[in-house]
Subunit: 585 residues, 2 copies
């Protein structure tokens, strides 16, 4: 007998929490802090407020700490972000697959999972409720004490309070207990905060660890990158389900309007050309064209400079004469026969402006037509690439500032690549290379990986950036083993192609790979110039030191030989053989 | 303004289908076939019927095949498995997180995702309904035509039919259309089927590809491993949520009974000792002990040989005298004071048998007590390890048969490790090593990875088996680069620690790693013996060939020298120097 069962998404992730990154007590405490810090940063970013995040981890009861190092901790996270409306607080923290980030917009969080999973983990290890306080800056602060009903994926509210918000505070505080192994997770947590500070140099992050040590990551600037905005779907990223969802909500009555209104970078012209390409354009039969239509066509043309440039002045007579000999059954072919030198797209535009183009009502498309439309979107090559206004890359200045603050390198090169796209999703790659300073001298290059400003710290070997870096012949760039070199790769996208829910690493999408490769090459070339110059300078110093050593002796010898008493000034001579202005010499 | 949204689990996996393995058209077609074949095999395994699976992939409309190789295919999968009850068919194929495998039992499927995701992928690429026919062998066959409402995670039934089941057919047929890139996926699909046949040598699998080629993977045996059975939770795998769920459904009125009934390998003795360790045992105050209780205690002991062995015969007098001077407030300490040489656990048993042990009603445990009970379960070291009766490993004979059939090696060694456990989940590792035959000579050893009889073909570099194999010094086993060697690792568990929903690779759990390492070492040592013998034989052949070459000449020479005409027979001589019986010589 086979029995079936339905489980809730909370139950699914509870059963398979390895998949969300909660693999063991050390990883769990790391992931919990990470998820909540990211929620805080996202929520301040959205308000264009420089984030202030305070994280405090305290040992709840030292006696419970087991031999393996596991203990029970109390985690508190406070931010100055947007705050959450009272009615959403319970679900935002007590339900998985509930969130504010299910949009075509760049954000750290994307799955609507992390925050709730962190709290769920606390609950299943300590069975204590979570406390959430939040205010959107209005007159009230709302407080909830709650637990998660995992089997139903719903919050269970134990207590709620409302207080006056005297200081007009805005933000969110989350506090709960969890079991974990802080001491094993410590180095990863600190590394995570350090790298977060590096890529969010406009944030103030404070962390108090269980020993009471305060780690401060102070902002170096209050300048923030422009906030990410929501964008429309790009036609290259559309599938049947997406298209149907848009059709369900559209108010457009025809496809021409529909394409323009709901798709990224599709204007009137692109909409027309695409629908023509896809076979969704209908024009009247020339033989049945009514005189009013002819008049409208002629008038539209003659009134518009743009059209007259192509068609010249048209007379009604000219059209009517043509109509008599017309063989084709559609107006496009008909006009093409009269104006053989005018482009099909121009003819289409004239017809559309004259109201002679008909396209279906999207709500009346039949299933095979929907499939055809989707397939054609993928095959049409003339859509404009997505623009990156919806993305919020860090920018070269902030990137440089972050690296300078954290690594204090001798040399630094940063680069922001032009926006690109994979499967309809816009993305931007930012790369940086740094040399010297606090960078450790290792056999391997130190690599910092980021996606939407999140540091990625685990499963490095499977990540696309590491593969790209390994594929490069570094000797070409004068890079040798043991040099203090760090590379930073930052991928911004409305959809980061993570391979795991735990956001450990990025999949090998060819478009992304190429951009990363080119970005790294670009900064590597600048490093090469720096290293080459450094090498010359070193040689020069050596050469000059030889001169400096022997010239005085030669001068002295010559002076003696000439029977003079005062040697000539050799400084001028030395200066004349200098090729580079070397500092300090 | 921050807006919130709830999405269904189907919507979540639709949006993040990379996570379930549907990364691109080639991978999608591979994963679709894999998921449905695995459902079929699971369902026949459960009935202990040798599986027969028929897979047919046809190009639906060659004209739609794009330049990139993408085309629209029709996929049909038919099996002789358990069939699905009519009322469950729509949800089983039209809803994610609905399944029959949410149990502590070994199965190929575990997530309740794969089959529906395959159909969902077909729907979003072709917008056509799926057809499912199934019968559990009764008088009817049920047919459903349906689609998935992704936003609500519910099946949409378009049509249903009921037919007479004249042939008493039992099984399931699934048929639907999907876009994919078969030609890029082909080698992986064939490899997948080949490896599946290797590890399921009792299955008949037929595959007809879009060119009409028939691939047959015939069974070599009808002997099947014992079917996996469902098991109870092991105390080491319990968290607060699990415990609460069990408390919610239990009928036990006390913890002693509760532990015995709901946990794997916990009997009366273990239950008592554990609850004592955890501080959940209450015994009466000796000072207030009623005469009936004393009588019961004495009678229980004196009637039982087992107890008498420890306590000897007890008299009521003896107890009563003791009670007068009793200082302790519980019976355990009191009895210990009278019988200082008897073990605490024996005293506990006597008290329990006499009805003098009280434990709480599990339904009345307070939250901190639940947490304490869970924590104590993790700390108690005397629970018996999980037994593996719930697992269905292949067994050495079937493993050997499968490898012989697929690889036809010269040498083969197989090993099944003893059951072991991680985080309360039982597991068994099976390993095999094979040499020669159809195994290709490569620089690297060919590795076949399996988990619960599923071949794992992607993301090999991150898998625990590969790491283990790389860590071994193979020269110790006389293995050199370029030898035709294949290693097979099969992990069976009620919960395979996959790192991804796409089941690409297994996480690095230390307990699992050790078992894999020991399993491989075991078969590697046998390979070493074989290779050593082979080496000796080769040397011997060489030595004999030297003898065989020169002995006749020497014999001839000696004959000539002695003036005789007939040379002596040297065969006997040659035989006498042979150390090994070498074949063909």
């Amino acid at each position: 007998m086979v029995t079936f069962q339905e489980i809730s998404p909370a139950d699914f992730f509870y059963r398979n929490r390895d998949i969300a990154g909660f693999t063991n007590p050390s990883r769990a405490i790391f992931v919990s802090i990470r998820e909540l810090v990211e929620n805080s940063l996202d929520s301040a970013d959205q308000m264009s407020v420089p984030p202030e995040v305070y994280v405090r981890l305290t040992e709840e009861d030292a006696s419970t700490t087991t031999e393996s190092g596991n203990g029970v901790y109390r985690l508190l996270i406070m931010d100055n972000g947007s705050g959450i409306a009272a009615r959403h607080i319970p679900s935002a923290f007590g339900q998985v697959l509930f969130g504010s980030n299910y949009k075509l917009k760049q954000a750290r969080g994307t799955f609507g999972l992390g925050g709730t999973m962190a709290i769920l983990y606390g609950q299943i290890t300590t069975h204590k409720p979570v406390l959430v306080k939040s205010s959107t800056g209005g007159s009230k602060v709302y407080e909830f004490k709650m637990m998660i009903d995992i089997q139903r994926n719903r919050p269970l509210i134990l207590d709620r309070k409302t207080r006056r918000n005297k200081e007009n505070w805005r933000g969110t505080i989350v506090e709960y207990s969890l079991e974990g192994d802080y001491y094993r997770a410590m180095s990863k947590i600190l590394e995570y905060l350090k790298q977060t500070a590096l890529l969010t140099p406009y944030a103030d992050i404070k962390f108090v660890d269980p020993k009471g040590r305060l780690y401060m990551f102070n902002r170096v600037t209050t300048k923030m990158p422009p906030p990410p905005t929501e964008t429309l779907t790009h036609p290259y990223g559309v599938d049947v389900e997406t298209l149907q969802r848009i059709i369900r909500v559209t108010e457009s009555r025809n496809l021409l309007d529909f394409m323009r209104k709901h798709f990224h970078r599709v204007g009137q012209g692109t909409s027309l050309s695409f629908l023509d390409f896809a076979g969704f354009i209908r024009t009247p039969d020339p033989k049945r064209l009514k005189p009013e239509a002819v008049a409208r066509l002629v008038e539209t043309n003659n009134k518009s400079k743009k059209f007259r440039k192509f068609f010249g002045r048209i007379t009604e007579e000219q059209i009517k004469v043509g109509l008599k000999k017309a063989k084709s059954q559609d107006m496009i072919a008909f006009l093409k026969s009269i104006f053989p030198n005018v482009d099909r797209t121009i003819i289409l535009r004239l017809l559309a402006s004259s109201g002679l183009v008909r396209t279906k009502n999207p709500k009346k498309l039949k299933p095979p037509e929907i499939v055809k439309l989707v397939r054609m979107m993928k095959q049409y090559t003339d859509f404009l690439p997505p623009d990156a206004s919806c993305l919020s890359p860090l920018g070269e200045d902030l990137l440089r500032a972050g690296i300078l603050k954290e690594l204090k390198p001798e040399f630094i090169a940063v680069s922001q690549r032009k926006p690109s796209t994979y499967a309809g999703h816009p993305f931007i790659v930012e790369t940086a290379i740094a040399y010297g300073g606090d960078i450790p001298k290792k056999d391997d290059i130190v690599v910092y990986r980021f996606a939407n400003k999140i540091p990625l710290l685990y499963d490095e070997a499977s990540d696309v950036s590491i593969r790209v870096i390994r594929s490069i012949n570094w000797r070409r760039y004068k890079v040798a083993s043991g040099m203090p070199i760090a590379i930073l790769v930052h991928l911004c996208s409305t959809k980061v192609p993570y391979k795991t829910v735990g956001k450990e690493f990025i999949a090998d999408r060819p478009e992304v790979k190429v951009e990363i490769l080119n970005g790294i090459r670009e900064v590597a070339r600048r490093l090469q110039t720096f290293l080459a110059k450094r090498e010359h300078v070193a040689k020069e110093k050596k050469r000059l030191s030889v001169f400096a050593k022997y010239l005085p002796k030669i001068a002295q010898f010559s002076t003696d030989l000439a029977g003079k008493t005062e040697a000539p000034d050799i400084e001028l001579l030395l200066k004349s053989v200098r090729k580079y202005e070397t500092e300090g010499k």
